[in-house]
Symmetry: C2
Subunit: 323 residues, 2 copies
């Protein structure tokens, strides 16, 4: 909007974005701080993203590094404490694995889940690729797995639009499930926000799919903003795995998820993406106690020893002595 086409003093003073500072970081990179009016957002999370980085995301050479101020979001409804309560685990890291591959029918996924559960794992999340496919329809899958996992929490993956997701939350609730997986960048932030608001009893694990976080700083997108919209747990690619995040990015992301914020619960960081059981001690020393370790493929690759390797995993977490 050309400024000279605005003749309203209120808009010029209170609504138009203001460049607060430009710092030269060298090498042609500048750190720019821009103030936006909260009135342009209201309370809608999608509109927040639209204002914060909507058109700017189309520039080749701009990264959204941080967002500050009074953001109109309540944060997690459960957070770290609520997730610990669900599985009665205190003073140690939480454990998680992933159900896959795609293509298995519900009964075989349930059999796999049952073996994870016997290994003592806290949470089993759907692979985020599991949706409502013909080979394992959502309702059938959730009922089968919910009945197979005992005290382990099964975390089904939400897909489709808000109405589809409502049905999925309700189908899951009827099976006693109180923890769900959602990918905010796929679902739309407003969709996620509506679910957090309307199902206060449900805890949400946020999946980073389509996070494209090379353009929005990962610690901001996944650590800070997913938490603010309502993620009780935030999954992200750990350093040294299948993705390229550095240890520093991972540390900052975990800090953003857990750092004390006035009136906002902490989210639990969930480093993942090619993690293995032998990395458990190192990861625990890196992240501390308030972390959920998510190991999928490495447990599944044990095949007939899946329950044993899962038990190794949960034991390594339970017995870890922090340096």
């Amino acid at each position: 909007m050309p400024l000279k086409a605005i003749d309203d003093q209120h808009i010029l003073g209170d609504i138009v974005g203001a460049v607060e500072s430009i710092d030269d970081c060298g090498d042609g990179v500048f750190d720019v701080r821009i103030a936006l009016s909260a009135a342009t957002v209201g309370g809608d999370a999608g509109q927040f993203l639209n204002m914060a980085f909507g058109n700017t995301s189309l520039h080749d050479d701009v990264v959204l590094v941080d967002v500050d101020g009074q953001l109109p979001f309540p944060g997690p409804q459960h957070g770290i404490d609520g997730l610990r309560q669900r599985v009665g685990a205190y003073g140690r890291a939480l454990t998680c694995s992933a159900l896959k591959p795609q293509g298995l029918p519900a009964a075989r996924l349930a059999a796999l889940a049952e073996r994870f559960a016997r290994g003592g794992i806290d949470f089993i999340k759907d692979d985020h690729g599991l949706a409502d496919q013909s080979y394992s329809p959502f309702a059938e899958r959730v009922a089968a797995i919910a009945g197979a996992v005992g005290r382990t929490r099964y975390v089904p993956s939400l897909s489709g639009n808000l109405e589809t997701m409502r049905r999925q939350v309700e189908i899951s609730g009827a099976c006693g499930i109180d923890t769900m997986l959602i990918a905010p960048m796929i679902a739309g932030w407003s969709t996620f926000q509506a679910l957090v608001r309307d199902y206060p009893g449900v805890a949400f694990l946020a999946h980073p799919s389509m996070g494209g976080a090379a353009r929005i700083a990962p610690e901001l997108l996944i650590g800070k903003l997913f938490r603010l919209i309502g993620a009780d747990a935030v999954i992200f690619p750990n350093h040294g795995g299948r993705f390229g995040y550095t240890p520093d990015v991972c540390r900052r992301l975990a800090e953003q998820a857990r750092a004390p914020r006035d009136g906002i619960r902490s989210s639990i960081p969930v480093p993942a993406g090619g993690m293995t059981v032998d990395r458990v001690p190192e990861m625990l020393d890196f992240y501390g106690v308030d972390v959920m370790l998510l190991i999928g493929g490495n447990l599944l690759a044990a095949r007939e020893q899946l329950t044993d390797r899962t038990a190794n995993f949960t034991r390594a977490v339970a017995q870890h002595r922090y340096r």
Copy 2:
């Protein structure tokens, strides 16, 4: 998923992704073609994005360049022909402008829209930043503007979740509006898909906000995929304006939007982003007749001459002789 943990021949043969080719493009860049099973997607647009580029978007050095095959989407319900019918414009480019700034109350936006309309413009879209803000609530704004534009089509911007957007489409419909603006990357593809399905009488302009198209090739994301999900018009940053797309990217994007595809209507390309009236002839020669020119700030900057400059714009389009 470790392949060695899969013991089901059907999954190994029909579901697991297959690397079809790897071509060395030089400079450490490779063109890789991967086949994914359509069964992993079903018909959901969000799940399509999840499968096509979900986790892969988290890699620093991967760009999604193209997607081929039988995609389960119907394309636009109206397309170029339907948009032309709405405004009775044939054999010339369509014209569009944008209502802003944020912060104006409904009555003043309506007064601005009325002046655009008197200049003979075909479409007036909300600035994509206009949502349901306190200074111009959606219902009040839409009613005021719909009553002010005569034969010009006013295109309100959708925001919030699917249920909010349904209310907005219905409020707009009650005011005689049949064309809406949506940002698929903010709304979520499944949300957009549900609206296309449930409101077959409504034409949709797709806004690229949060397109972050440096990671998904712009011609694929905006030109091809937004069309396939159902955008009748796709807005994108034209070369030489406020964004960094090259002429080649823009040409390919417009080709993707308009190219004949079996049983799929064409979307109209809408180059925008800092365009000016004096670029009209050059843009028309570049894009041809099936284009909608969107000029916002440059018309608004004319202030008291807004109607006159709008008339210059619409006349330049009507009288253009293609080279």
